[in-house]
Each structure stands twice: as structure tokens, then as C-alpha cells.
């Protein structure tokens, strides 16, 4: 980037918020994947006006901008290309408003999701989307990826909570979409379009989020099964009884063994699956629902069942699930996290297919994920220093995508396309679908300034 441009950028945001040295730029070359790209400059703007000015400069000078929240993405979405500018939104981190009467919060994009959770829960309110990365990822990143989490089955994903946005367009205008009402059909649903647009259609600078009252009670159950099929039929049985659990986490046999080897919690090594179930709501309703959950588990051949109401006991039941990430890397250091998702009824079949894909390539492939919404997280465990293994993993990933699509599912339930799934987008969206997306991108970003090369090549 030429000196003059850098000088201009410094005059916009202040020189202490512009990082130029290679050492500092290297620290913005990655996200949670293995993709890398060292940006030419790192800028941390402080408000929407500064963002807009830099975007206009980018249009004028012709350099690309790569928006970035906390850089926890799992699809390479925020990874810059050389000659580009990494625009880090983490400094814009104010919670501007929490309204108990309108049940909403207004925040800047750099607010860390977990911090918003704590702030609204203090007011007796609840922001349900709970990506596992919530202690670090930002709301801006959540909106840009349309992030989900374990609670999605009952409460939905980020999109279901975004009421309105302030956005800097790819040409540097500041626009507002949606508003403060749950109902809003004035014009195109731009809020919906921008949610999940992975930083390619605009830079989000302010977000209005819908909140709900905080559930008064929570109960947890842990059920052990011999076969995945029984766990899956438990899920179906619960739904037929009219219960939508807030959490419904599944662990397969390989995962259980990893956790047991690591923690020695006394989990049965020969179990085929474990379900972690949570119901929430008003105390009386929760108690009644938990009874129905227990019935469903027992009637579907669960071999052991534990339940808990108080916080400490519940945490004990969560222990195995929380340890999964750490436990599985004891086998191999590199984990490739996929998030292929299938319709709920196809879970047993998908688990079966994943097992045979793992066996075919001789790879460790533990599966644990959200059984309620079919978002299974197959994780391929490899050593990134072993090229042969990496190649096998690549092939296995392709087969996983095929399997998910065969079963009527999707390539990505929550991580987005970014760079990693770009080669496979056509399998799901079709040539026509991609053309439609490209037409939108070209119309709003004629100079291809925002996050170029992500999702598809214009």
C-alpha cells in the first residue's frame, strides 16, 4: 500500500490504530482454520464514519478490505489476501442500549457474544444464540456468519434475532435496514440478506437484536445408549410428545471413548451414544417436561439416565460434553471441524455414513453435535505435518459433503462458506444459484472491494 494512502488512513482513524509492521500484520493473517494471508495493513476503526471513509478510499484507490471480528471463524472468512486491508471491528464494542420494554438490545459489532449474554441476563433477559466460541467471537461476526449454537433447535439461530442493522455499503454509504419492530416488511428484507453475507455485502457497524425473557428454570439429563439409533428415536419420541429441548447434544462412540480416556469420568466405553438434554422455561412446566423426557429415554432403550436441577449438578453432567474439544486432540493434534447438517430424521444414517467414511480412509472421525437440528460436527483428526493424511482428509471431507447433500442436508449449518467450502458451493447452490448471488454482489460492490474471493469468485 502506498505511503500516501497509509497516511490518509492514519488521519482518519489515528495512527495508533493502524498496524504496519510485518510482525503485527502476521497476527491478523489467520482465523480458526489453516488458511493464511498476511494483510498489507491492519486498521482498527472506532466508528461507522471512519469505516465509511476508509471504504470510500478503497473504492478510489482500488484496494480490498477484509472485515474481521475476533477471527474465530471456521471457514477462512476473515483471512485477508495480500495487498488488502484487514479491518478489525473489535474496538467498536459498546452495548448502546438494553430495553426491557421493547425486548431488544442495540450493540456495536465488536461486542463479544458472551459479554452481551451476561449483560442482558442481569436484566432478566435472554439472547439465545450461543455458538461454542461465545467467550471470544463478536456479535458482528455472528451476524456476518449467521452463527448458530446448541440452543438453535428451540430458539433458532442469529438470523432469528436480528431486527435491524446499520451498515456501511461496499461503496461507502451508511444505511439502516430493518428497525426496532419484530414485524417489518417495508421493502426488501435487507437485514436478512446481510445476515450471513460473510462480510461481502457490507460492513456491519450497529446491530439491533431481539431479546426474550430469561427462562426461570433449567433441568438437565444425561442418557447413555448402546446404539445411535436409540438416541435418535428418543429425539423423535420427545418431539412427538411436544417437547422441544433447549439443548440436545449427541456424542458418538469414538467421542465417548476419547473423553473417557482423557477424564476417567466413568462413562461406559462400549456405549454407542450419549445424549445431553436440557429443558428450560417456567419451573412447573420444566418439571413436567423433564418427566416426559425421562419416559422417552427409557422407552427407547437408554441404559443409564442421570438428571440434575441445581447448577453444580448440572455442570457435572455437562463435564463430558465440555471436555470433548480437548479430549479429541489427544489422539491427533490437528482437528478439521466440519458442520455438515442433515434433516433430523436422517441423523442415524448420517452417523453411519460418517463411520464408514472414517473407516474407508483410516481416519479418526469422532462425531458430536446438535441432534435437535441435525447439525452434526464430524471432526477429522489428523497431523497437519503429515501430507498423506492431509490428502486423505481432503477426500473424506468431500465425501462428507456428498453424504449430507444426498440426505437432503447442507454443506454448512453454521460456519459459512468463506474460502474452505468455496469449491463445493455449486454442488448445493447450483450454477444458477451462484449466478444470482454474483449478480447481487456485482450490483452493490462494483469494484469488488469487500472481502473479495470469499464464497465465490466474481
Amino acid at each position: 500500500m502506498d505511503k500516501d494512502t497509509v497516511k490518509k488512513i492514519k488521519s482518519v482513524v489515528g495512527s495508533e490504530y493502524v498496524l504496519e509492521s510485518p510482525e503485527e500484520r502476521i497476527c491478523y493473517s489467520y482465523d480458526g482454520t489453516a488458511r493464511r494471508g498476511i494483510p498489507a495493513l491492519v486498521v482498527l476503526p472506532g466508528n461507522a464514519r471512519e469505516v465509511a471513509e476508509i471504504v470510500r478510499l478503497a473504492n478510489e484507490k482500488g484496494f480490498p478490505i477484509f472485515p474481521r471480528g475476533a477471527g474465530t471463524g471456521l471457514s477462512g472468512g476473515s483471512v485477508p489476501a495480500e495487498q488488502g486491508l484487514a479491518m478489525v471491528l473489535s474496538r467498536m464494542n459498546r452495548i448502546l442500549e438494553i430495553s426491557r420494554d421493547d425486548l431488544l438490545a442495540v450493540v456495536e459489532p465488536g461486542v463479544v457474544t458472551g459479554r452481551l449474554h451476561r449483560a442482558v441476563e442481569k436484566e432478566g433477559l435472554f439472547y439465545p444464540p450461543d455458538p461454542s466460541s461465545l467467550q471470544t467471537c463478536t456479535i458482528g461476526g455472528n451476524v456476518a456468519e449467521n452463527a448458530g449454537g446448541p440452543r438453535a433447535f428451540k430458539y433458532g439461530v442469529t438470523r432469528d434475532y436480528v431486527l435491524g442493522l446499520e451498515v456501511v455499503t461496499p461503496t461507502g454509504e451508511i444505511i439502516n435496514t430493518g428497525g426496532r419492530t419484530v414485524k417489518n416488511v417495508t421493502g426488501y428484507d435487507l437485514t436478512g440478506l446481510l445476515t450471513g453475507s460473510e462480510g461481502t455485502l457490507g460492513i456491519i457497524t450497529r446491530i439491533t437484536l431481539r431479546l426474550v425473557p430469561k427462562p426461570r428454570a433449567v433441568q438437565t439429563a444425561l442418557a447413555v445408549y448402546n446404539r445411535v439409533e436409540d438416541a435418535a428415536s428418543t429425539v423423535t419420541a420427545m418431539i412427538r410428545r411436544g417437547i422441544i429441548p433447549a439443548t440436545l447434544e449427541l456424542m458418538d462412540r469414538i467421542t465417548i471413548r476419547c473423553v473417557e480416556n482423557y477424564l476417567r469420568l466413568g462413562l461406559p466405553m462400549d456405549a454407542g451414544a450419549i445424549l445431553l438434554i436440557e429443558v428450560d422455561g417456567l419451573p412447573a412446566q420444566v418439571a413436567e417436561e423433564m418427566k416426559l423426557v425421562e419416559d422417552a429415554c427409557r422407552q427407547n432403550s437408554c441404559r443409564a439416565l442421570q438428571t440434575a436441577t441445581d447448577a453444580a449438578e448440572r455442570e457435572r453432567l455437562w463435564k463430558a460434553r465440555r471436555a470433548v474439544s480437548t479430549a479429541i486432540v489427544q489422539i491427533k493434534p490437528t482437528k478439521i471441524s466440519e458442520d455438515a447438517t442433515v434433516p433430523r430424521s436422517k441423523i442415524p444414517e448420517m452417523v453411519e455414513r460418517l463411520k464408514s467414511i472414517g473407516e474407508k480412509y483410516g481416519l479418526h472421525l469422532p462425531v458430536f453435535g446438535h441432534a435437535g437440528d441435525g447439525n452434526l460436527h464430524p471432526n477429522i483428526l489428523v497431523d497437519k505435518r503429515d501430507p498423506v493424511e492431509m490428502e486423505k482428509a481432503e477426500k473424506a471431507v468431500q465425501e462428507i459433503f456428498r453424504a449430507a447433500l444426498d440426505l437432503g442436508g447442507t454443506l454448512s449449518g453454521e460456519h459459512g462458506v468463506g474460502l474452505l467450502k468455496k469449491p463445493y458451493l455449486e454442488w448445493e447452490a447450483g450454477a444458477g444459484g451462484i449466478e444470482y448471488m454474483k449478480a447481487i454482489k456485482k450490483a452493490v460492490d462494483p469494484r469488488n472491494v469487500l472481502n473479495p474471493g470469499k464464497i465465490f469468485q466474481v
Binding site: L19, C27, S29, T72, N93, S133, T136, P333
Partner: protein
């Protein structure tokens, strides 16, 4: 740069998940990635592969780490960036040598206990003779570069004399059955005599014989600066002093020293001498609770509201979180109040970090100060004299009336 197999595996395991952002006090204070564990791992990978070489900027990045280990404690992939940063500093020293000031301090002063005393006496004289007041009043220090005035006030007020020379070598208690060797650490020896006296009182009063063997600096300052040679020499001397008399236990009152002593067997090859003694090394609180099973009566005097600061190097040792609290609750009962979770992290002292990165260390301690402003405790207890010093400075700065004490001091005052 070359790493050993364990360290290489650690780097390889880091998935760049970013979870460390939520736990690194420096990231929380600044929000910039070169200061968080993840950024450091990426830079290390570049160093190892030869894509980067040591330069001033890189040296600065690696000097900016508290070595608090919070990242490692919470990393899902068990990457101990605190260890890796230390290793990087060692490599930096090998490549570029130590900064002159540190070289002088470590190699001249710390290695030679006698001379440290001489230097200590000099500084002591300077403080007591009133020159200090003169200098401050005349704002002479303001003329010096780099905000030296505030830095100067961070320097400890040295006590008169050395603790180790003021007390007997062997201190017998009433009907002593246990023999303990006491590692006093430099801070107790030169600054906080009151901590040392409290340790002696509590132990001898409870039937323990306390010996103060020949000893010197634990080596942490040198280790943190990457000077493993000096640290190794200091370790060897301490090992000799503490294994000779074959004590039942080796008790430490400083969390930083404790952390270093516990690492000796992994850092320096001494033919296994210390590895055998390692199990005997423990913090004073742990000794009081676990070994003595001490029962303290509730205090008759009211010390007011008491809270506790977790020193980074104590909280991850066995019982390091629970025992000090158990003791404080025995004497203070319901007057003991916990700090909120986000105020519980590293205070930012980290050896000489607060001198080298003054502004940043102020940012790090801010959440704690804000919580203390709300809580308004009378006493802040902790288990590390380095934290005590830094906290004293920070609360004075915020005009808070609280007193900072070592856990054992409070026990000693109140019982």
C-alpha cells in the same frame, strides 16, 4: 529458533481457535492480537521456519507477556504459551544478548548474594536519607526519560537490613515434631519483613521447627528474561542449600518463587536431586491446611471486609485457590468477600513487567481496581509479595483506603 519435541507439539496443537482472547489480561486490556497467546504462536511458527528473524519489533512483542499462564490454563488444546514465550526469550538472548541493564542486574547482583546486599543497602540509604524526597519535590526525576517518576515509586521501599540475617538460622517451636526449611524469597528478605515474621510465628507457634538455609534468588527474573544460564546457577545453589538438611517440607511464602522451585526439575538437569525433593515444596497456606490441619479461632478483633487476590503462580498449584480462602474464612468468617470473576485475573505485576510496560500494566489492573472501588474492602490479602507491591501502588493511585497484606500476616494479626 529450535524447540524441543514437547514445545513443537504444543505449537502444532494450537488450532488458532482464539479462546485465549477471553483469558489473556493483555488482550482484554488492549484488544490487539500480537499481545494474545494465539498471535505469539503464529509468530513463533514464522521464527521456527525462518520466515522471521529477531528484530526490535519482535523482541518487543515477546517482552510484552505477563507469563501469567492464564492462556495455558484455559486452552482447549493445552498449549502453554507462557512456557513458549520464555523459550522465545531464551532464544532472543542467545541471538542478541541481554539488555545491558538486565545483564548487570542478573550477572552481577543476583548471582552474588553479598553484592546484592551491598546494592540493597545503597538503595536503602537513598530512600531513608531524604534524598528521595528532595528528588521528588524538585521534580528532578521528571527530567529523566520514560516517566521515571512513577517507575521510581514502583520500586520497593527497602526494609532496614536483611530478614535472613535478622532472625536465627534455626527457630524451634514448642515441642517441634516437624522440620521445615523456609524459602524466604528476595521480597520477604529485603522488603516485607512482616511477612517473614508472620511465617515464623505461625509455624513455631504450631510446633514446627523452621530452618532458614543458605539461599538466594529463585531465578525467576533471569528465567523470565531468557537468561537460563544465570537461572540455572541460582537453581543449583538453592537446590544444594535445601536438600542438604533433608527437611520434612520446604515452605515458600512467595507464589512466584514457588512456581519457579516447582519447575527446577524440568528446567535444569541436576541428576534428579531436586525431583525427589519436589513433592516437599509447598506454599505456606497449603502447609498450614494440608500438613498441619490448622484450626484457627475466629478473630476477636474485626479487620473489616477482607478480600483475596489470586496470584497466577499460586492458583494452579494443588490447593492454591482453596487453602488461602479456607484460612481467611476461618479468621474472618462472613467478612470475607470474593472479587467478581472478571476482577480475579493477573494484577499485571509480573516481575519487572510493571516497570517495563508501565501503562499497560495499569490497564491490566483496572478491572480489579474498579471492582475494589465498588466493594471497598479494608484488607486485600494475597499470597505473593510481588503482587502485594503492585497492588499497593495501584490502590494508592486510586486513593483506596484498603491495606494489602500477605495471607499469613492477616492470620498472624488476627489470632
Amino acid at each position: 529458533m529450535k524447540l524441543n519435541e514437547t514445545q513443537e507439539q504444543m505449537i502444532n496443537r494450537c488450532s488458532r481457535c482464539g479462546s485465549c482472547q477471553a483469558h489473556c489480561p493483555l488482550y482484554l486490556a488492549t484488544g490487539v492480537e500480537p499481545l494474545v497467546a494465539r498471535g505469539k504462536v503464529e509468530l513463533l511458527e514464522h521464527l521456527i521456519e525462518g520466515r522471521l528473524e529477531w528484530n526490535d519489533k519482535l523482541a518487543e512483542v515477546f517482552s510484552t507477556c505477563l507469563l501469567c499462564g492464564n492462556c495455558g490454563d484455559n486452552c482447549p488444546n493445552q498449549v502453554r504459551v507462557d512456557h513458549l514465550v520464555r523459550e522465545a526469550r531464551r532464544d532472543l538472548v542467545a541471538a542478541r544478548g541481554l539488555p545491558v541493564i538486565k545483564r548487570t542486574v542478573f550477572q552481577q547482583l543476583l548471582k552474588n548474594d553479598g553484592r546484592l546486599s551491598a546494592a540493597a543497602r545503597l538503595v536503602c540509604f537513598y530512600q531513608r536519607s531524604g534524598i528521595q524526597r528532595l528528588v521528588r519535590a524538585g521534580k528532578v526525576l521528571n527530567l529523566l526519560p520514560g516517566g521515571l517518576t512513577v517507575k521510581e515509586s514502583l520500586l520497593p521501599r527497602l526494609a532496614a537490613g536483611e530478614f535472613r540475617k535478622l532472625v536465627p538460622r534455626v527457630n524451634r517451636g514448642k515441642k517441634s515434631t516437624l522440620r521445615v526449611a523456609y524459602f524466604t524469597g528476595c521480597m520477604t528478605n529485603y522488603v516485607f519483613h512482616r511477612t517473614g515474621r508472620s511465617v515464623l510465628n505461625l509455624l513455631t507457634g504450631n510446633g514446627v521447627e523452621v530452618t532458614i538455609p543458605e539461599q538466594g534468588c529463585c531465578g525467576l527474573p533471569a528465567l523470565a528474561a531468557g537468561d537460563y544460564d544465570t537461572a540455572g546457577e541460582l537453581a543449583r545453589r538453592n537446590i544444594a542449600g535445601f536438600t542438604q538438611s533433608e527437611p520434612d517440607y520446604i515452605v515458600v511464602d512467595c507464589a512466584s518463587c514457588l512456581g519457579t522451585l516447582l519447575e527446577y526439575p524440568r528446567l535444569f538437569d541436576d541428576g534428579g536431586t531436586f525431583a525427589r525433593a519436589e513433592e516437599k515444596v509447598m506454599d505456606i497456606s497449603r502447609f498450614l491446611v494440608e500438613v498441619l490441619d490448622i484450626k484457627l479461632p475466629p478473630a476477636t478483633k474485626d479487620a473489616g471486609i477482607v478480600t483475596y487476590h489470586d496470584p497466577c503462580h499460586l492458583k494452579r498449584t494443588p490447593g492454591g485457590k482453596e487453602y488461602p480462602r479456607a484460612l481467611l474464612k476461618m479468621v474472618s468468617g462472613p467478612r470475607f468477600v470474593e472479587l467478581p470473576a472478571d476482577a480475579g485475573r493477573c494484577c499485571g505485576s509480573a516481575g519487572s513487567f510493571n516497570l517495563e510496560h508501565y501503562r499497560l500494566s495499569r490497564e491490566v489492573v483496572k478491572p480489579k481496581i474498579r471492582a475494589l472501588e465498588v466493594m471497598q474492602p479494608d484488607i486485600i490479602a494475597t499470597g505473593c509479595p510481588a503482587c502485594m507491591l503492585h497492588l499497593e501502588h495501584a490502590i494508592k493511585d486510586a486513593s483506596l483506603p484498603a491495606r494489602v497484606v500477605h495471607t499469613v500476616e492477616l492470620l498472624n494479626i488476627l489470632t
